[in-house]
């Protein structure tokens, strides 16, 4: 049996990391694994700080995390 996934506009992922993981299944990566990890960390902190689970973080900001 095949699973059919119907996506609404904007349903590709609520965060950059979700979108990245979905995109890797379709076309390929836009982030290195290290940047993806850092972005997940920022997303986690952002959710703790403001309660939102929707945000978009550019690699330019993740790149600054050491």
């Amino acid at each position: 049996m095949a699973n059919i996934i119907i996506r609404k506009p904007g349903n590709f992922g609520k965060t950059r990391s979700e979108q990245e993981q979905n995109l890797r299944k379709e076309w390929g990566p836009t982030l290195s694994d290290e940047h993806l990890d850092k972005i997940k960390f920022i997303e986690k902190r952002a959710k703790e700080a403001v309660g939102s689970d929707r945000n978009f973080i550019g690699a330019i900001d993740a790149d600054k995390i050491k």
């Binding site: 506009p9 904007g10 995109l23 379709e26 836009t30 945000n55 973080i57 550019g58 790149d63």
Partner: protein, 309 residues
């Protein structure tokens, strides 16, 4: 805070002090949506909301986009006998499409060999009128004497492309990024190359328009090189015009000195710093090879390994 690389009890790797990075994070835009562009399999009549329904051109993706959207671009195919195909179009990001992200998919994360973008003719491939545009993983290529990217600002709040523009892991080959008056442009890990014969200098030109100022331009971890064994024709960074303040150039690498004799030609910059950068010329002269105006220079080295004071 935890040291780098330590995995916390919740399974996430912990990094040092992320709080200072919270500022640039874009929160809580429930209307933000991703869009997709695929020159090979896409169609401009498609919705663009999924990889299977991707747009064909970058302009169609920008036009379909709204404030805060992210546009993912698929690289084109390699053509046997021809080489890497490029998106060949001139895109305008209009004023009200602010905070857009245009991101290239690239398996190698090398911007030269992922999404490649060139002008359609003697034109500029990317003109930005909206604030806050973010570019990632794009390789711009030009062999014409038109700016590669123009961040336009007319000083009348109808073109504000030079405010908040950011660029990461991109390549700019052949011509320059022009930055009009504005604020907060950040270029990080961008690779600038002149055209193969050096005649077009890959680099940055900042000008002031409408009597306004160019402030807080940050250029970090970037590379500036000439052509194929040929020095670039003119300075890699040229900042001229009216009020240009608080420019930061840090941790950059510059190859051979351009044929014009100057690596950096900043004729009216007040404040700002050039730091921790490397210049390929041995015995670099701070006055002959650089024009910094009011910028402080610190922690830089030249091709002989000498510290440049």
């Amino acid at each position: 805070m935890f040291a780098k690389g330590r995995r916390g009890t919740d399974g996430y790797l912990e990094y040092n002090d992320p709080i200072r990075f919270m500022g640039p994070v874009q929160f809580s835009n429930p209307w933000r949506k991703p869009l997709f562009v695929d020159a090979v399999s896409g169609a401009d009549g498609a919705s663009g909301f999924s990889p299977a329904a991707a747009k064909k051109t970058i302009q169609a993706g920008v036009t379909a986009g709204a404030r805060g959207d992210a546009i993912y671009i698929r690289p084109q195919l390699y053509t046997l006998g021809t080489g890497f195909a490029r998106y060949t179009e001139d895109v305008i990001v209009p004023l009200l499409t602010n905070d857009l992200s245009i991101i290239g998919v690239t398996n190698t994360l090398n911007p030269e060999f992922g999404v490649r973008w060139k002008p359609s003719g003697n034109t500029t491939p990317l003109t930005v009128n909206a604030p806050g545009l973010h570019l990632e993983n794009i390789g711009f290529f030009s062999e014409v004497a038109y700016r590669m990217i123009k961040l336009e600002n007319d000083g009348n709040a109808t073109k504000v492309g030079s405010c908040g523009f950011t660029m990461f892991n991109c390549a700019v080959k052949g011509n320059t990024i022009q930055i009009d008056s504005g604020d907060g442009v950040r270029l990080r890990k961008v690779y600038f190359h002149a055209m193969y014969d050096g005649s077009l200098t890959g680099g940055i030109i900042g000008v002031t328009t409408g009597g306004s100022a160019l402030r807080r331009l940050t250029i970090e971890d970037c590379f500036f090189f000439g052509g194929n064994g040929v020095a670039a024709a003119t300075a890699f960074i040229t900042l001229t015009g009216g009020t240009i303040t608080e420019t930061a150039i840090t941790r950059c690498n510059f190859g051979a000195v351009p044929q014009s004799g100057k690596y950096i030609l900043n004729t009216n910059v007040t404040g700002g710093i050039l730091s921790n950068s490397f210049f390929g010329k041995a015995a670099l002269s701070r006055t002959a090879d650089l024009t910094l105006s009011g910028m402080i220079m610190a922690g830089c080295f030249d091709g002989s390994g000498a510290f440049v004071a």
